[in-house]
């Protein structure tokens, strides 16, 4: 059976198993649990005390608490990843056996935070060698050991970027002469022309 929120693939077995665990707590508590899980997905601090309080009525053991948080994380992030709307998610979860009230609560929380979740996922997508800081300085060379009167402007660039493999910051300092800098700027402006052409 193919599910849209699993990316048009079969639903993993563990998700099916844990949905029955979720059905054990009341729908109100499940909605509050969803709110906590969404906070965790958005990298805000999750309040584990609240989570254990919410699940204590249904007498969840620590394994059950971890399982329910994991399955909610999976459902919400996978649905955001595949851009599933609330109604389809609701019908698919009901097909998997989650009771109607629980599904309604979950989908309401999902729709509220849908945009924020997608934004967060976009930000954490793979980026290599991110440029962090650019500092520049324009110097004017008066003279040198080779030529008495040089009178040329020169640009010094300091680029701080992220090493693509290790993730640590690297700094590189580049000195660009006036003509080469003009070539660089022309290339950049052609790029932006294309950028705007494709986007707008």
């Amino acid at each position: 059976m193919r599910f849209r929120f699993c990316g048009d693939l079969d639903c993993p077995d563990w998700v099916l198993a844990e949905i029955s665990t979720l059905a054990r707590i009341s729908s109100v508590k499940m909605k509050l649990l969803c709110v906590q899980v969404i906070k965790d997905l958005l990298d805000e601090d999750i309040d584990y005390e609240k989570v254990s309080k919410l699940t204590s009525d249904a007498k969840f053991e620590s394994g059950d608490i971890k399982a329910s948080v994991a399955v909610l994380s999976f459902i919400l992030s996978s649905a955001a990843k595949h851009d599933v709307d609330g109604e389809s998610l609701s019908s698919e979860l009901q097909q998997l056996g989650l009771p109607k009230e629980h599904t309604t609560g979950l989908c309401k929380s999902y729709e509220d935070k849908h945009a924020a979740l997608q934004q967060k996922l976009k930000e954490s997508s793979l980026r290599l060698g991110r440029l962090e800081v650019v500092n520049w300085r324009v110097d004017y060379t008066l003279s040198s050991s080779e030529l008495k009167e040089v009178n040329e402007p020169v640009v010094q660039l300091r680029l701080q970027s992220q090493n693509p493999e290790s993730g640590s910051s690297e700094t590189s300092v580049v000195t660009v002469g006036a003509e080469k800098f003009r070539v660089l700027l022309t290339g950049m402006s052609i790029f932006f022309k294309y950028y705007y052409y494709y986007y707008y």
């Binding site: 793979l126 290599l128 493999e165 290790s166 294309y194």
Partner: protein, 199 residues
């Protein structure tokens, strides 16, 4: 298969008959503890003070026991072979029985510890991927070139490394096909026969 003990080793173990068998039992227990958790020099000093011998002698005695245990567990020698190997040391009957018991009780655990010392290759931790399309470049404008960027996170004995790879869709499909062949190989008759025999 007999264990061959070096002269230095025999010298270190020569300390054992000079003390009570109960103390030897205690040394054996300390030796197993050290194999599990690493050695603690303070224990040598405490024991040396109680027995009124230099701490170096105690250390050699315990280390000799540890080496005897690891070598016998590594080769998984039988009871008779162990007894014959220890006979060479010229210990009393009681001491021999004690050493044999120490060996038999702890060999499974020692073997488990030794198995964790084998070298391990970097293994998979996480894979991030990204599907890009190159629309143009300084050299050529308006083309369409799809590319897939992969960041493979690996872990080897506690240290984490990452490798960045880039491929085009055709190579990626070929890679997937090769990996699926590898998985299918496990189900072939040849592999099944070998696995059945090992189990």
């Amino acid at each position: 298969m007999l264990l061959v003990l070096s002269d230095e080793h025999k010298e270190h173990l020569g300390f054992l008959p000079k003390v009570d068998p109960a103390v030897v039992g205690e040394f054996g227990r300390i030796a197993v503890e050290f194999l599990k958790k690493g050695s603690n020099p303070k224990i040598y000093e405490g024991a040396a003070r109680k027995l009124n011998v230099p701490s170096e002698t105690v250390q050699h005695g315990v280390e000799g026991l540890m080496y005897l245990l690891t070598e016998s567990s590594k080769l998984m020698i039988s009871e008779i072979d162990f007894q014959d190997s220890v006979l060479v040391l010229g210990f009393s009957e009681e001491l021999n029985k004690l050493l044999l018991q120490l060996y038999l009780e702890n060999r499974k655990e020692v073997r488990q510890i030794l198995s964790e010392l084998a070298p391990s290759l970097p293994h998979y931790r996480n894979l991030e991927w990204r599907f890009d399309v190159q629309l143009g470049s300084r050299a050529l404008r308006q083309h369409v070139k799809p590319a897939i960027c992969l960041k493979l996170h690996l872990e080897s004995g506690g240290t984490q490394t990452a490798r960045v790879l880039q491929t085009d869709p055709a190579t990626l499909l070929h890679l997937i096909q090769e990996l699926e062949c590898a998985l299918a190989e496990v189900k072939s008759n040849h592999c099944r026969r070998i696995l059945r025999n090992i189990k």
